[in-house]
């Protein structure tokens, strides 16, 4: 069994809700290495997955040489959203704004793509430390109420992470959990302000 199939198996046993992230990784690997042929078992549409060692699936030498090439071209691998850009004029429009409300970029993406992958595809500075596994809250975005209301409610796991997000608002979501539908055409995602000295976990009144 190839490494990745093994991984897909162990994951599907241990974390029952994780096909999209895995397929994202699979696709990434295919684009860099075209090593994997079998697609992972789909279990649900909920993107909840881990990929420890996804990078290490590349042999060290491959990792090293491809990363050297990346270093020269200056496009780190984490920037790739692993999605395909639609032909101009045919996609769903997404506006990304900075914390001050100025437009960073308007981009186009396809149904099913999530805001984190889209941001990475278009080099927008939205972090995704856990790579879409709902375990970090670094992909926090603020939506406008009209679009926020069109989305399915965040589930418990997403709410747990939102509890820890900085500058949480009533229309905050995790970017990795917002998937585009046709109805969301024209959606605006604002990046929260990166204020200093935000060292707490979210709650906690003054302590001892």
């Amino acid at each position: 069994m190839s490494n990745l199939c093994w991984r897909a198996n162990i994951l599907s046993r241990s974390l029952p809700n994780c096909d999209r992230q895995l397929s994202l990784i699979v696709r990434r690997r295919i684009t860099t290495k075209s090593a994997v042929t079998q697609s992972p078992i789909s279990l649900s549409s909920r993107p909840r997955c881990q990929s420890p060692g996804a990078k290490s699936r590349l042999a060290w030498r491959d990792w090293f040489s491809s990363s050297q090439i990346r270093a020269i071209h200056y496009s780190p691998v984490t920037r790739h959203g692993g999605i395909e850009r639609p032909a101009s004029g045919t996609g769903i429009k997404v506006h990304f704004k900075d914390s001050k409300g100025s437009l960073i970029k308007t981009v186009e993406a396809s149904e099913g793509d999530d805001l984190l992958a889209i941001a990475h595809e278009y080099d927008i500075d939205l972090e995704g430390a856990c790579e879409g596994s709902v375990a970090c809250s670094t992909c926090h975005v603020i939506l406008t109420p009209e679009y926020y209301d069109q989305l399915p409610e965040p589930d418990d796991d997403e709410n747990d992470m939102l509890d820890m997000a900085f500058g949480l608002t009533d229309t905050s979501r995790l970017g990795c959990q917002v998937k585009l539908t046709k109805d969301l055409d024209g959606i605006t995602a604002t990046l929260p302000s990166a204020t200093r000295n935000m060292f707490v976990d979210g709650k906690k009144p003054t302590k001892h």
Binding site: A59, P76, S133, D160, D163, M164, M198, K207
Partner: protein, 484 residues
């Protein structure tokens, strides 16, 4: 005028160090028009990534995805990592590390940033470490196989564990003790640890907090994980604790915590082989061991309430005792008192913004700190990352001609760094260690990383960790002659 070089030594190789390096290297292009930049990370541990490798619980593999970004950062030719190098003194030195003085760093670098974290556990004055009382960090070090070699706990001889403190580290330890070994076996848990866990006779874990559910330090995600454990159930919480006075406005997280606690655990209490409890409003006052029965100890607890004015726990005057086999204190962490610029009052380095401050209150030129070293042991990776990015911006503000220096702007130059260092030079001791093969670099780590995953795969798990002896042996077989 030639651009001023930035040759930055980062002490520590945890997430904050990597996030600082990542930010600096991505904002300064590797081009003639930019200042020449080098970022060298030094860690006393042979493996990089700090608490992401030697702290984050094994059943949180997704959290470790951040290392993919660290790998990308390390692929920049201006970056280097040197493991097994202890800068300055260590409270509990690891025998195989090289010691490097700060002055050697000052001679070879133009700028220095401390990303040393908070490596020591905070202890409880009434509960000195003993056979019956250990800090949570010992257990974390044991199950992550930290190079300081914490001994395994005698889980086969005990039935009741009392965790003091209800932060996320406390809940991590509780989960490790209550999760079925078959589940843990798929993750990054060393075989020797699985072995001890599979012989565990622990039946109940008491998580003791001196304040109530509204003040609990854990986050809802961690609480939910405990609540959903397959083989364990929670003792129902006294309903009055879950009804806050109506004039209180609760934060979103507080109301969600209360909801979760009111629902109780997924498994009904008593229906499972193992149980756990959140024992609120209890503060330990001592631990007594009966010499005739050393398997059990009596933990004395003062009953407490939260003073609405100060939010502190105050005694109600009542008390009780709890028979227990092992007390594990999980009260947070602090920095090392012997570290330069350590402030014992703060429990971490003395900083203003990202700058290091002297005893006299002056901000030092070209000296910085980030992450837990600067803020104390507070916050998850997201906050560590934000803090590191701000620190990187402070460094860049001092170096890039088109940027304004960040506050504080009045700086003293008490410490002489090297404004024109040999960009690719390393301190002599490091060069020597590299020659001997006892200093690790990122390339070494990637080979080990790959091998650990391969070894894990062979037995159906995420990875099988190496200790330094294994790693050193393995490296001897694979290290190629080329440097880096």
């Amino acid at each position: 005028m030639p651009l001023k070089p930035l040759k930055l030594a980062v002490i520590g190789g945890g997430p904050s160090a990597f996030y600082v390096a990542s930010r600096i290297l991505s904002l300064v292009p590797n081009a003639n028009t930019s200042p020449p930049v080098r970022v060298h990370l030094f860690d006393r541990l042979w493996a990089p990534h700090g608490l992401v490798r030697y702290g984050v619980a094994p059943d949180h593999p997704e959290v470790k995805n951040c290392t993919h970004k660290f790998d990308a950062t390390a692929s920049d030719p201006r970056f280097r990592f040197f493991g097994n190098i202890n800068i300055g003194d260590a409270i509990t030195p690891i025998s195989h590390t090289h010691k490097l003085s700060l002055s050697s760093i000052f001679n070879s670098y133009s700028h220095v940033l401390f990303a040393t974290g908070c490596t020591l556990p905070t202890l409880h004055s009434a509960l000195p470490p003993s056979q019956h009382c250990i800090p949570a960090l010992s257990l974390v070090h044991w199950y992550t196989q930290h190079p300081n070699r914490s001994p395994p706990p005698a889980l086969d001889k005990i039935s009741h564990v009392s965790l003091i403190g209800n932060g996320n580290v406390s809940l991590d330890v509780a989960r490790m003790l209550l999760t079925p070994v078959s589940t843990l076996a798929q993750y990054d848990v060393p075989e020797s640890v699985l072995d001890v866990l599979s012989r565990s006779s622990v039946r109940h874990v008491s998580i003791i907090g001196r304040r109530g559910p509204l003040e609990a330090a854990f986050t809802t995600k961690e609480l939910r994980e405990l609540i959903n454990l397959p083989d364990a159930s929670m003792v129902p919480i006294e309903p009055s604790f879950l009804k806050p006075s109506p004039d209180l406005t609760l934060s979103r997280q507080q109301s969600r915590t209360l909801q979760l606690l009111s629902k109780g655990s997924k498994n009904a209490f008593g229906s499972t082989p193992k149980t756990w409890s959140l024992d609120f409003y209890r503060s330990p006052t001592g631990l007594i061991v009966d010499p005739s029965d050393p398997t059990t100890a009596e933990l004395s607890l003062a009953h407490t309430m939260v003073d609405p004015r100060t939010q502190r726990a105050v005694s109600t005057g009542e008390s009780s005792t709890l028979p227990t086999s092992l007390v594990v204190t999980s009260l947070g962490f602090h920095g090392e008192p012997t570290a330069s610029f350590y402030d014992p009052g703060l429990g971490h380095l003395r900083t203003l913004g990202a700058r290091i401050i002297t005893n006299e209150g002056h901000a030092l030129k070209n000296m910085y700190a980030s992450g837990w070293a600067a803020t104390g042991a507070k916050g998850v990776l997201a906050s560590t990352m934000m803090n590191a990015y701000a620190a990187a911006d402070t460094v860049l503000g001092d170096v890039l001609p088109d940027r304004e220096p960040e506050e504080p702007k009045v700086l003293v130059e008490d410490i002489l760094l090297n404004p024109n260092p040999d960009l690719d030079g390393v301190p002599r001791e490091v060069a020597q260690g590299l020659k001997e093969g006892s200093v690790t670099q990122y390339g070494d780590w990637k080979k080990i990383d790959e091998e650990e995953i391969k070894r894990g795969q062979a037995v159906g798990k995420e990875r099988e960790r190496m200790n330094w002896e294994d790693a050193r042996k393995f490296l001897e077989t694979v290290r190629d002659r080329s440097p880096h």
